[in-house]
């Protein structure tokens, strides 16, 4: 049985079809990348799975339970965590408090939430900035807070929307390390949208390619980079030759 199953998912905004009959499966323990050019409907697909958008038709099945049309907080309670491409950076709460809110998802006790949040921040090497506010941190740390927050809700499937955008090569490398660590140590299935090939290719066990709302390819990373349609739509000749 598939862990996450998306069947014939269609989402349109007026005349624009953002997702057209997208079907795929994710198995437990996998790392799956989702790539595609700008406007291909990657984030929309995420939003449809998590519940920010209601799909026009099609089904989303998580662990054998249909969750189509569930609200975001409901899908989170089912065990799907997600991060955002852009985080609202506000001065309202500290890093620790942000992560505690995530931990409150599974407990009512403040002290437990605090211990849990501190442990996750330690896991991501963020001990030193716990009492800073989000707006005081560099973007790489902000992204990690987003990740920590989602991890604190103890997801089984973590959906990451461009977790490496805006990071420099060194930070990107570090982020890839964390993703691997999350996958191995916490046994969390990862599903990530990513533009940065240096992130997707080395860690993904499987890659799904979207273009103009349709799935044009799916397969192992080294198969994908040789796929004609993918090269034409997204990667460009250069990348293919470089390999």
């Amino acid at each position: 049985m598939a862990f996450l199953e998306v069947v014939d998912l269609v989402k349109d905004f007026g005349g624009v079809v953002a997702n057209n009959r997208v079907t795929f499966e994710i198995h437990q323990g996998e790392i799956v990348g989702l790539i595609g050019p700008n406007g291909a409907g990657k984030t929309t697909l995420f939003n449809c799975i998590v519940g920010y958008h209601k799909p026009a038709s099609g089904k989303v099945i998580f662990k054998g339970k249909e969750i189509t049309g569930f609200k975001p907080f409901m899908t989170n309670r089912e065990g799907i965590g997600r991060t955002f491409q852009l985080m609202k950076v506000t001065a309202g709460m500290t890093v620790l408090e942000n992560v505690m809110v995530g931990a409150f998802c599974r407990t009512d006790e403040r002290n437990l939430a605090k211990i849990e949040a501190a442990a996750i921040l330690g896991f991501l090497g963020m001990d030193g900035v716990m009492n800073y506010h989000l707006n005081e941190l560099p973007i790489a740390s902000q992204k990690k807070v987003g990740l920590a927050r989602a991890l604190a809700t103890q997801p089984e499937l973590l959906m990451l929307d461009e977790v490496a955008s805006g990071l420099n090569p060194k930070e990107t490398e570090e982020m890839v390390g964390f993703l691997k660590k999350i996958h191995q140590e916490k046994k969390i299935t990862l599903f990530l949208i990513e533009h940065v090939m240096e992130v997707v290719m080395p860690i993904s066990q499987r890659v799904i390619v979207l273009d103009s709302g349709e799935k044009i390819a799916e397969g192992l990373p080294n198969e994908i980079v040789k796929n004609e349609r993918v090269i034409k739509a997204y990667l460009g000749e250069k990348y293919a030759k470089g390999r």
């Binding site: 920010y52 907080f73 955002f84 408090e97 409150f104 403040r110 506010h133 927050r149």
Partner: protein, 332 residues
Amino acid sequence: METLKDALNFRDFSRAERVGFGLFTVFLLIFPWLGAGSFVKTVMIQFLLFSLFGMGWNTIGGYGGQVELGKAQYVGIGSYAVALMMVWWKIPFWVSMPIGVLIAIGYSFIIGYPLFRLKGHYFAIATICTSLVLQDIFINWKLVGAAKGIELPIHEHPDFLYMQFKSDTYYYYFIMILFFFAVFYMNGFRKSKLGYQLRMIKDDEEAAESLGIDARWCKIKAYTIASAFVAVGGGFMAVYNLYVDPYSVMDLDLSIKIALMAMLGGAASMWGPIIGAGFLVPLDRFLGSWLGGQKGLIGVDFMIYSALIMIVSAYQPRGIWGIIEQFRGKRT
């Protein structure tokens, strides 16, 4: 148990804040013996009452970040519940006040459920509307005294059951107890799960939802808490004024004052609503009576009042408490 400990634990405040609040507590306790005149006593009671309102508003308006401008309807519900039950069935205050609070809670669920489908300015306008509609109903409802309102029967002897006293001192201590209850409650609230969740909703509602928070349900809960607080104050107003009419307890003016005081003092902070009330209530009263009554300059007090609000909010959107924190160099 843990909640109670949280409510009584002020250790995470700075030393200055704790000392300040301690001194203020002592001042409140001995105030009636400082020989203040009856006018000053009235102002003091008003101050405590509006602090109570402001702290209630702070749950949804401050921590939750929802601009709520309809609290007067719950003041009205609390007041009318106490007044009507006393006039019709001679039910003592101690029974009718909790019933009034329960009615306010029930009503706020009914109102809050559809209301929180709206966001931002639309929500603010809708809260004003619901309050105005209720006011209009009461203005035209013959059974509850319509626009004339209702007078509470005055007892010959002071009566604790009906909260009727000759001296303002008793009312003062009663509202002071309510005030401290509110302080403890808010101290627990800001550390509670709901408190954290509301602050997250205020910061980024989309992200909050992705963290398993049912934003709408959280807002409804906070709205209900705020309404219950305000209804308690409303019940007090009924026995204190011995008179209830739709203009004094359900007016838009009152709703705005409640929100304004909390915002001016500093929304989403522990002391903000108290500071705001401590600033605006005396200003409102003294300026009003001095300029309006003695100098014949009716309306000038409102000008000064509004100018101050504009200055503070332009300088620091987080209100007076924001300015204090800025000067203390605390990270914002």
